[in-house]
Amino acid sequence: MTAAAAPSRPALPPELIRLLMRVAAVLVIGLALSVLSGAFLSVVNLVNVLRQAALLFFMSSGLTLVVITAGLDLSVGATIGLAACLAGTVIKSTGDPWLGVAAALSVGAAVGLLNGMMVSLLRIPSFIATYGMLWVLQGLTYTFMAGSTVYGFPRGFRQLGNGYLIGIPIPVLLMAALLLVGTLFAQRSVWGQQITMIGANPMAARLSGVPVKRRLILVYTLSGLTAGFAALVFLARLDSAEADIGGALTLPAIAAVLIGGTSLFGGVGTLTGTFVGALLLTLVLNGMNLLHVEGNWQPLVTGLIIIAAVWLDLRGHRIRS
């Protein structure tokens, strides 16, 4: 691999370049779609896409931190399912949306805490611990819901998913807020930097006094917490919850994180990347619907795009280094 000749002016930081490349990929897809389909470029469609991407982003945000520590959280989808069902039931029986919010967030955090303890204290590989947790949570949700659906929530609560503020859907605004807060946390705060170090070089982290176990527990708890939050937005958007809503969500969430440039080996990754990854996946689905791609072909298209996106990203990364 030949090294590029040293540029005569200071180069942009590599992270920024990768981000720009990913954004470029999104723009290319967007451009293609607007050429191929007249309906793509409308304001309504783009707003829809952003809102759909926001739902995906909420799930993937905490997960990004987990992957940065070279871990994986397979239980995200199941956490959302359980949290949504519990919160929904609480809201229906008490009539108080705030209790539902508390329920969803506490369930999410509790699950995350348990995952974190299994990974850091019991040293169970994260893949396995969260896989086991996935089944346990799913079983609990099935038992709890017994095949029924909980639906019909107060109008105020539903604004969380359906409302608009200054013309922008509320989930999109929340996504922007989470992106800002999350990025500040991950890159500017001491804890965030420690988390990145744990992924990049666990030995160095330990030697420099980072309380690795506590940070790991924190990271998984955050993943669970954002899953709980995502559950609330789903609940509000769909105005219902059933036991199986989480099933199809986990792999797309992980895909969004990985497309966004976060490496499974840890130490590398940004929330902005995950946002772009979520946007990309949502654009693909949007495009397939608008272009009438037959149902049977959709997994293939999605699969190929995931591979292509990650490959391009890695290629760009390697050329620079």
């Binding site: 309504v44 829809n48 099933g247």
Partner: protein
């Protein structure tokens, strides 16, 4: 004297413990497809109610992985090992499960086929509804309400599922009957509410003037309904299942109608047939639920949650 009494007692005890000829306490194994679809939950509730009404016991077997063919196969193996008195079964796949049915036949356990008609194997009876007819009837209700003209969108179920294919056919044939109506788009929602909502959102962009939406099940209909409401669309929407949530939506005028695809009744009747067969009472070979479309005018009986309904009595069961 004492000896005769002892012999008489012994004979009575043997008779009391003889397994097969009992008129009560039969074990019926009920196999359904998944835990996630409320339709099958309703079926399980119906089966349990019918069993309880007739003083028998229903044991439920559901794959842990939804719609898993190999898992249902394994459950058949394990059920056959336990030798229940009869089996009531919804095959996960109407072709792939034939081998499993043959295993049940080989073990001489009577089995009733419910919901999805198996393409092979010996059954005591089939209890089901005709997906095609229900979809067609529901589609016709929509098209009539549309005045017979306008753009129609179909939200399909899971590709490859027999129910989804038959319903799609039914919808399409209904549209074909009305020359003024046009099918502008047909995309899968995989029977999932969120997916249907997002698909509907997307399809509205290319078809803003859609007048009618046919969704292959209620969960998708409601998801699409929300997307339509967000876009202030005047499109009418129909679904299939007749769930309580759909009935509420019909009452509120947000949804037009839903095809009655009633898991509860099928579960009841399937189990009733199994038990009657064991008790040597006459049973029909096939029971097809009539195609009823639930609309505002007739939603009374559907407004009751499944747990509170009662099974139909035997004379109410259509004996065709």
């Amino acid at each position: 004297m004492k000896r005769t009494a002892l012999i008489a007692m012994a004979l009575a005890m043997t008779a009391a413990t003889a397994p097969r000829a009992l008129a009560d306490g039969e074990t019926i194994a009920v196999l359904t497809k998944n835990q996630t679809n409320p339709f099958f939950q309703a079926e399980r509730v119906g089966a349990a109610k019918a069993a309880a009404d007739m003083h028998a016991k229903a044991l439920q077997y559901v794959p842990t992985q939804p719609d898993s063919i190999p898992e249902q196969m394994s459950q058949i193996d394990d059920v056959v090992t336990k030798k229940p008195d009869a089996i009531v079964m919804v095959p996960v796949d109407y072709k792939a499960m034939i081998a499993g049915v043959q295993k049940i036949n080989a073990a001489n356990i009577p089995v009733v086929n419910v919901t999805d008609r198996s393409a092979g194997g010996d059954f005591v009876a089939f209890v089901g509804a005709d997906d095609y007819s229900i979809a067609k009837a529901t589609g016709e209700v929509l098209l009539k309400a549309m005045g017979g003209k306008g753009d129609v969108i179909i939200i399909e179920g899971v590709r490859g599922a027999a129910t989804a294919q038959d319903r799609l056919r039914g919808f399409k044939d209904a549209i074909a009957e009305f020359p003024g109506a046009k099918l502008v788009d047909s995309q899968p929602g995989n029977y999932q509410r969120l997916q249907a909502m997002q698909v509907m959102e997307n399809l509205l962009q290319s078809n803003p003037n859609v007048a009618g939406v046919m969704a292959a099940n209620d969960a998708m209909a409601i998801g699409a309904m929300d997307a339509l409401a967000d876009a202030n669309s005047k499109a009418l929407i129909v679904g299939i299942n007749g769930t309580k949530e759909a009935v509420d939506a019909i009452k509120a005028g947000k949804m037009l109608a839903s095809g009655d695809y009633n898991g509860f009744v099928q579960g009841c009747i399937g189990t009733m047939i199994a038990i009657r067969y064991l008790r040597h009472e006459p049973v029909p070979k096939k029971v097809t639920q009539p195609s009823v479309v639930v609309e505002k005018s007739n939603l009374g009986p559907y407004d009751v949650p499944v747990d509170q309904r009662s099974c139909p009595t035997w004379d109410q069961v259509p004996q065709n």
